[in-house]
Symmetry: C2
Subunit: 333 residues, 2 copies
């Protein structure tokens, strides 16, 4: 029996999830919701670039969509901010539908989101369904995968994770999110406003610390611009010398004044090599590298779709990648 999926949120990530669910074995799309008036009433396949009509009309009301389509699971890809989406989770959970979400702050709720996370956990338990926050980052390359690697360690005294991405091959919203094309002053203003940033380093650091049983004194998250000295061009823009071509972001978890969890991200147009790397200090010390890195857009949609069957059999409540069963590609059945 195919799993009946309702899609909530049809931005770039939500649309990527729709394209996979529409074509991969084991799933059946039953409905789609978005608040954008330009999308409501249109065919889901056309909105999401599936390349064919899906005969599913986009609607704007979550509760009505669930009642009309009786989904087995909802995929929610609307916003990075947990507080912004609590109401959406509530609407779904009141109708007892499990949820997989790419909401970055849900991947591992930090203190400032604890109240919202508790509310979602309570609603999910009441509904006897599971809710999972997942994604590639946060959710995998800078937390779940490095955590899994330490499963073979007798001791861990520190962990360093690098994620370097050449943003030239990424979508336009991503290039904008990392500040490409801005002046240094514009970049810093947007960092201050919170519109230029990667969301998730504090979440990943907290997930790692909790997995190891570590107490942290302090978590920092610092964003700097990467300036280009020569013109660099993507499909969408050219950045002239002296302007920002992307960001460098460092998240650090400290214990007794010592950096013991170090997450280093570089995402800019023209990075010479994309890769994901993990260095575990401990016994055994371990060094892992994914050459070319894990491409964010396809991979985020993939891990969301692969998580669907897992969340349906997970224990009720708010789950994270740390307490879910082992991630895996799902080939359908």
């Amino acid at each position: 029996m195919a799993i009946k999926v309702l899609h909530i949120g049809l931005g770039p990530i939500g649309a990527g999830v729709v394209r996979q669910v529409a074509t991969r074995k084991g799933f059946k799309i039953v409905g789609a919701v978005d608040i954008d008036p330009a999308k409501v009433g249109k065919d889901l396949g056309e909105i999401c670039g599936v390349g064919r009509k899906l005969r599913i009309k986009v609607t704007s009301d979550i509760a009505k969509a669930i009642k009309a389509t009786k989904p087995d699971v909802a995929v929610l890809c609307t916003n990075s901010s947990l507080k912004a989406v609590v109401g959406q989770f509530e609407a779904v959970l009141k109708l007892r539908v499990p949820i997989v979400s790419t909401t970055e702050e849900l991947a591992y709720p930090v203190k400032s989101n604890a109240a919202a996370a508790r509310k979602i956990d309570r609603l999910a338990k009441k509904a006897k369904v599971a809710v999972l926050g997942t994604g590639v980052n946060p959710g995998f390359v800078m937390d779940a995968l490095p955590i899994a690697l330490t499963g073979v360690c007798e001791s861990v005294t520190g962990i360093e994770i690098d994620r370097v991405q050449d943003a030239r091959v990424r979508r336009l919203p991503f290039q904008q999110k990392i500040g490409a094309g801005l002046t240094r002053a514009q970049f810093m203003a947007r960092v201050k406003a919170g519109t230029v940033r990667h969301v998730g380093l504090a979440e990943s650091i907290t997930m790692i610390a909790d997995a190891f049983g570590w107490k942290l004194d302090k978590v920092t998250d610092i964003i700097k611009p990467k300036m280009t000295t020569e013109a660099v061009t993507s499909e969408f823009m050219t950045v002239e010398p002296g302007l920002v071509c992307g960001l460098i972001q460092d998240g650090i978890g400290y214990q007794k004044g010592k950096a013991i969890i170090t997450l280093h991200m570089e995402a800019y147009l023209g990075a010479p090599e994309s890769f994901d790397a993990v260095r575990i200090k401990g016994n055994p010390a371990l060094t892992m590298k994914i050459a070319g890195g894990v491409h964010g857009d396809v991979a985020t949609a993939s891990i969301t779709v692969n998580s669907i069957p897992k969340v349906m059999s997970a224990a009720p409540g708010l789950r994270t990648m740390r307490d879910m069963v082992l991630p895996s590609y799902f080939g359908g059945k």
Copy 2:
């Protein structure tokens, strides 16, 4: 509260587990069992090279040891063969104690072990406790970790895993198990007798196939000697030119005549580079490498110890690394 651990089997792996449990936070050793008369009655710390007495006498009867020590969990490291250890599992499960075991064939029971696995699953469910088969290989580097990596894949069409180890730094029983120092004829005779081999490739292949929802037509497991052309020396032996210095073992899972899961192992004295590598064919294609590889002995003991708290909260029955929560280093609490 420290977790009370009973150790069953004090060979090289069991002793490695004892050394970790004796020194890592969060555990308390309450008893130890081995059938070797040379070990029974001795102090566990002396037998296992802990470097100090543990004031635990090794005994020979599992049921008596459990009744006397009331462990929270048993660690069972006695034999690679599942059929050989069913009686030991039964003795533990009758007294309702969860088990973590390094029995290779338990890591993911294949068809020929299905009856024994069903029996252990039934006993565990009756006892309302979980049993986990784990280890580095099988259990991690050639199955669970590569499976986890595919969590970010939209499609997987094939997977190739390499594990290359310079056996010079491994313990003597390992060097013997891979046939180091034998002639080609002796090696082939021992392969036939089943005493020279790595146990676990079929288990790993089956775990991967099941994780992806793949049906395989055929699984092969072929062992060849690695001959040395120059003398090679370890701490324990020198292998002269023309003799076997280790093994090359290939496990392959076929679908419609095509090799879609390929596990390649090289373990011999003098391998120029140790590493673990995974190549996933699919979208995205992924290439991961652990430079230096995951050292088998320390890592097998580590993953066993790290699994103890996880198995205590797992659902009753026979579990595998595929349906357990994400592996992780356990720092105690």
